[in-house]
């Protein structure tokens, strides 16, 4: 396993484009700390974002995992191109001839995907912990440790998304087309939702059905955190509305994404096995 990871590391780290993207990705993850610096001080209006409670434990776990998940697109490019480059350089052929099995090849890519997700999760954990310790109003250990399942969801969400990218890379063989396909798929899920909502089902059933689609199921893992903010809640209360949203992560949502991960990884392997290189 270490050998396979090492092989992928050599391939990625010596590629300048990948290196730049990976470094900027982690720089962006860190940059979420800069949000803390947002401060308006215009006469009577004083606004300091950090004082709005976004960095309070345990809310910070939810907020940071939701926001940072958008940066995953950077790594998606890296992953799609690391797969399609193997095709365009024909190095996949040489790798197999040199004695890597097709299973090992896919497994080494999947290990890379898992490592990326794991490192991102640890990164977000550390950044959030530091931000929280500085700005949070509550610093009891028990509160800090509440809602850590958002990190688990974050990890699974990234692994799922990257596995999807990996699968597209194997399927399409060209990085630009694979990324295009990813966007196309996002649009397709949107259109499909529109159609079944319009013609067939009510809003709730539509949500249930869409929850089985790859991108939507990944998105469902971490719900939007904004309506949970104290300020938003109080505004809603003044308007006489009760925001009763379900923020929690459900086991079946995790199972759906895990199933997609399995489908993508085994699908990639099946394609590779069937194809003549």
């Amino acid at each position: 396993m270490i050998r396979l990871l090492h092989i992928e590391f050599i391939k990625l780290w010596n590629n300048r484009a990948s290196k730049v993207l990976i470094i900027s990705y982690f720089a962006l993850l860190t940059s979420i700390a800069l949000v803390a610096a947002i401060k308006f001080d215009i006469g009577p209006i004083k606004f300091h974002l950090a004082d709005q409670g976004i960095f309070n434990f345990p809310y910070i776990w939810h907020f940071n995992t939701f926001i940072t998940a958008f940066f995953k697109l950077f790594l998606a490019i890296v992953i799609v191109s690391m797969m399609s480059n193997e095709y365009s350089n024909k190095t996949i052929k040489q790798n197999l001839i040199d004695g890597l099995s097709k299973k090992e090849f896919i497994f080494s890519k999947f290990l890379t995907v898992v490592s990326f997700s794991l490192v991102s999760t640890i990164f977000v954990f550390i950044v959030s912990l530091i931000l929280g310790l500085i700005y949070s109003d509550f610093n009891e250990i028990s509160i800090i440790l509440t809602d850590l399942e958002f990190l688990l969801a974050f990890f699974i969400k990234l692994t799922g998304f990257f596995s999807f990218c990996l699968f597209l890379g194997v399927l399409v063989k060209r990085s630009a087309f694979a990324l295009g396909f990813l966007i196309l798929w996002q649009v397709f899920e949107g259109i499909f939702r529109g159609i079944i909502r319009w013609k067939f089902f009510d809003s709730e059933t539509t949500d249930v059905i869409m929850g089985f689609f790859p991108l939507q199921s990944m998105f469902n893992l971490i719900k939007e955190p904004f309506s949970r903010l104290g300020a938003v809640q109080s505004v809603a209360n003044q308007m006489g509305e009760q925001l009763a949203l379900d923020y929690y992560i459900h086991w079946y949502e995790i199972v759906i994404v895990l199933a997609w991960i399995a489908i993508f990884v085994y699908g990639s392997l099946a394609i590779l096995k069937r194809r003549d290189l």
Binding site: N14, N15, N89, K90, T91, Q94, L100, L277
Partner: protein
């Protein structure tokens, strides 16, 4: 003698096209094999199948008597097919280190093999800056990293300039001299003739011949003769039981042997019969002539 590769009734179809048809042969340790055949005769497809990159339609093959799985066996094989495939953004050294990791061998041999192919001073240049000849030589170095039991080369001199071709041939000869088993696929006959001891000849995916180069045609060779008195010469040869077909072209008589006869004996026989030869050469058919004869027979 131990068997390295056994191929049994291997068939590969690309849609309606049959690229390899019921092919069987074995590769023994210590020989230098050539796979011969015109373009599109299924050479590369056959190699692709045994190297795990092309799926077979039917039949089977096994490495080292089937003692290990194909990908484990391939770690003991060095192979280059068609054109050199490396990561263009990495240097020669980085590429070879990667191959070492894949083959699970220590990195100690890298310098030695780069030296062998004459690329040691360019080891820190990126692969994309290499010329085609250098790329091909790097590929050979890479294939040798594990000191393979067998080296497989598919058209190693394709697209190279004469100097490059010469360099590659010298390298192949050096390797063959060390006792490494080599399997060389080519459509260049003189290339195969120069280095190979055994050949497998393919045409349209079918095997025409496999065996030793020198027993490719069970012939005794032929004589080329010249004399001032051509008529006397030909009539003598026609009456001699050693000879079959006699041809005369531009004053040169070609007499095909039907049984063993050496040049010295013939010279003496002719002299005793009052015929003085001004030119007497005993020759074997070249591989090219044999190959053309074989593929022509198959056409008919």
């Amino acid at each position: 003698m131990s068997t390295i590769l056994t191929v049994n009734h291997l068939t590969k179809k690309f849609g309606y096209l049959t690229a390899v048809k019921d092919l069987s042969f074995t590769i023994e340790k210590g020989n230098v094999y050539g796979i011969l055949g015109p373009n599109g005769s299924g050479k590369s497809t056959t190699l692709g199948i045994v190297l795990n990159v092309v799926n077979k339609t039917s039949g089977e093959f096994s490495w080292f008597n089937g003692q290990s799985s194909t990908h484990e066996a391939l770690k003991k094989v060095g192979a280059i097919i068609e054109r050199p495939n490396f990561y263009p953004y990495m240097t020669a050294l980085q590429n070879l280190k990667l191959v070492c990791k894949i083959k699970d061998v220590p990195e100690t041999k890298i310098e030695e093999k780069l030296e062998l192919v004459g690329l040691l001073d360019r080891k820190n240049s990126k692969f994309k800056t290499y010329s085609l000849g250098m790329k091909q030589r790097l590929a050979i170095a890479s294939a040798l990293l594990n000191d393979p039991e067998i080296l497989i080369l598919d058209e190693p001199t394709n697209g190279l300039d004469p100097q490059g071709i010469h360099q590659i041939r010298e390298i192949i000869k050096t390797i063959a001299a060390k006792g490494t088993t080599i399997l060389l696929a080519s459509h260049l006959l003189d290339e195969v003739e120069k280095v190979c001891t055994h050949v497998v000849i393919l045409r349209k995916g079918e095997k025409l011949y496999s065996g030793r180069v020198d027993s490719l045609q069970a012939s005794f060779g032929f004589f080329e003769l010249k004399s001032d008195d051509l008529e006397k010469l030909t009539s003598y040869l026609k009456n001699n039981q050693h000879f079959g077909n006699i041809k005369q072209e531009n004053g040169l008589v070609t007499a095909i042997l039907t049984s063993e006869l050496d040049a010295q004996t013939l010279n003496k026989l002719l002299f005793d019969n009052g015929i003085i030869a001004s030119h007497l050469v005993k020759r074997k058919e070249s591989l090219e002539e044999q190959f053309l004869a074989l593929t022509k027979n198959a056409n008919a």
